[in-house]
């Protein structure tokens, strides 16, 4: 497979075209906006945290195939996870897309593995991580906008 086919795998194209968990989460108790000034991508991540659990999560916004698919697959992966598990997934995902060796306690990435091709495209790492940074900003209760820059 070429690098390009590695990057634009069918699953990514599918989630890019028809993102899951897309829209406003009405009963969210946390949210944040993420912005990539390089390409103008803007997303908002809504989270409903119950105790220690990500009970529900949705997002809205416009972006490239990579950032939209990443947000879509992220929301599917995080639903029902504990906050500690979410943070572990973020670290593992970050290592994956930046081409780092996974640590010893790396959790199963499941569908998130589809983003492994991103590491060959350094200029696209920010597209893949935008939704994750935004999710973490929402949890940390940081108002305002997180930027990739």
């Amino acid at each position: 497979m070429t690098d390009l086919q590695d990057l634009y795998q069918e699953l990514i194209l599918d989630h890019g075209r028809r993102p899951r968990n897309f829209g406003k989460l009405v009963d969210a108790n946390q949210s944040a906006e993420g912005y990539n000034p390089l390409c103008g991508d803007k997303i908002r991540v809504y989270v409903k945290v119950d105790g220690n659990i990500v009970e529900d999560i949705k997002f809205e916004g416009a972006g490239c195939a990579i950032s939209t698919a990443s947000a879509s697959i992220m929301t599917s992966a995080l639903k029902g996870k504990t906050l500690a598990e979410s943070e572990q997934l973020f670290r593992a995902f970050h290592d994956l897309v930046t081409g780092q060796q996974p640590g010893p306690d790396t959790p199963e990435l499941g569908k998130l593995e589809v983003f492994s091709g991103v590491s060959e495209f350094p200029t696209r790492v920010k597209c893949a991580t935008l939704s994750w940074h935004t999710f973490r900003a929402a949890l940390n209760g940081k108002g305002g906008v997180v930027s990739t820059e």
Binding site: T2, D3, L4, L7, Y8, L13, R17, L38, C39, G40, D41, K42, A62, G63, C64, A65, I66, T68, F121, T123, R124, C127
Partner: protein, 423 residues
């Protein structure tokens, strides 16, 4: 297909026909390389152009043989460096047909020139309740410096609107000029769309009320002959790196009478005649606005770039690029789902487009792997993107060394995007 540009005169077509692009390509060593195993197709010239060997040699030669500070040494090297620096000023003067050498101020680039005028002229002349007029086509560098002045002074920034082709609505522009207008600052050529503004007409409209006009010529200098006296603009700026010169050097032209009355922009060495702790007397033009050791190598490199384009002839370059633009416009218009953004009748070599619902960033990545370098994003013109209802566009921009074959590679690359995204 929408007609772009006026019909090329037979004379211009003749000029383009004689244009030996393959010979000129040899002058640019960077073009002779592969990108991901494919011949590099560089179509990001509106961001920065590549440099001919003569410019690279001028920089090397300066550092290898003449490097020294200017205007202060009594020694041989300083004399040589000073002479070359001032020769470059004369080359710029001729290039834009300014009346006097002292009207040419060396700056870092167009952005610094705009900030200089906003902070010096703007700060001294814009008062509460006044207005500064720009257009909806402007680059952020011709928006933000004026916003800063307007905010500080309690003045208002007015924006002349454009139509769906990306042309300034001249009637609306004229109607926005009023007794409160203190300054007008407009792009000669739009960086995001390629629209050539009718600047002469716009300057006349402002001058009827004695309002000075600044022209942002960053995108015009590589593509059009500039005559600041014919335009009668009060200020004009362009960047060296977009006209085949080095980065970090640009010029501000200003009418001497205006520059004389303006307060300095930055204080420091070279911009003074004498300094005591009680009072400083400023240097004469242009040095009043050139504080500190300038980009000497860059200035000499810019001189070499001006020599290069002047030798080929800007009218010939413009005619050739126009032919490429028409070819590219037709080829891109035939691609299903592709929408050109910016279809002004008067256009310079920019092909800005969106492709169905594929994000420009994805288009850019796929083209990159085909060896094709384009720009994707908002092109530092976010209000303009909003006007067209798109977050970003893909932009291919032309230079004198581009070919029809390269446009064919671009088109094939776009078809590859369509294939990958199953359009």
């Amino acid at each position: 297909m929408k007609a772009i540009g006026k019909e090329v005169s037979s004379e211009a077509t003749g000029k383009a026909a004689q244009f030996d692009v393959n010979r000129y390509r040899q002058d640019f060593p960077i073009l002779n390389q592969l990108a991901y195993g494919k011949p590099l197709v560089y179509l990001d010239n509106a961001a920065t152009s590549q440099k001919p060997q003569t410019v690279i040699d001028a920089l090397m030669h300066y550092y290898a043989t003449d490097n020294s500070n200017i205007h202060r040494g009594v020694h041989l090297l300083s004399e040589r460096a000073t002479n070359q620096y001032e020769e470059a000023r004369e080359k710029v003067r001729r290039f834009i047909n300014a009346g006097e050498k002292r009207e040419i101020i060396f700056v870092r680039g167009t952005t610094e020139a705009l900030n200089l005028v906003a902070q010096s002229y703007g700060h001294a002349n814009v008062n509460p309740g006044d207005e500064v007029l720009i257009t909806a086509l402007e680059h952020h560098s011709n928006i933000v410096p004026w916003q800063i002045v307007c905010e500080e002074k309690g003045a208002r920034l007015r924006v002349a609107p454009i139509n769906d082709d990306g042309e300034v609505l001249i009637d609306k522009f004229a109607a926005l000029i009023n007794d409160r207008t203190r300054f007008v600052s407009i792009a000669h050529v739009s960086n995001a769309l390629g629209t050539i503004n009718p600047v002469r007409e716009m300057i006349d409209l402002a001058h009827r009320r004695n309002i000075p006009v600044m022209i942002d010529g960053a995108q015009a200098a590589p593509h059009t002959c500039i005559d600041v006296q014919k335009l009668d603009c009060d200020f004009y700026a362009f960047s060296g790196h977009k006209v085949y010169g080095p980065t970090g050097i640009g010029i501000l032209y200003g009418k001497a009478a205006l520059l004389e009355r303006m307060p300095p922009y930055q204080g420091g060495g070279d911009m003074i005649a004498s300094v005591s702790f009680d009072k400083t007397t400023y240097n004469s033009l242009p040095y009043k606005f050139e504080a500190g050791t300038p980009n000497i190598a860059g200035t000499i490199g810019l001189g070499a770039a001006i020599d290069y384009v002047s030798e080929i002839g800007l009218d010939r370059i413009a005619a050739y690029e126009h032919e490429l633009l028409l070819y590219g416009t037709e080829a891109l218009s035939e691609i299903p789902g592709l929408r050109l953004i910016g279809t002004a009748k008067q256009k310079a070599g920019v092909l800005s487009f969106v492709l169905s619902n594929v994000h420009p960033h994805d288009v850019g990545t796929i083209l990159d792997r085909e060896g094709v370098a384009i720009r994707t994003g908002h092109h530092c013109a976010m209000p303009l993107m909003e006007r067209f209802g798109v977050p970003a566009t893909s932009r291919a921009s032309l230079a004198l060394y581009n070919t029809k074959e390269e446009i064919d590679v671009l088109v094939a690359g776009i078809h590859k995007v369509r294939e990958m995204f199953a359009l």
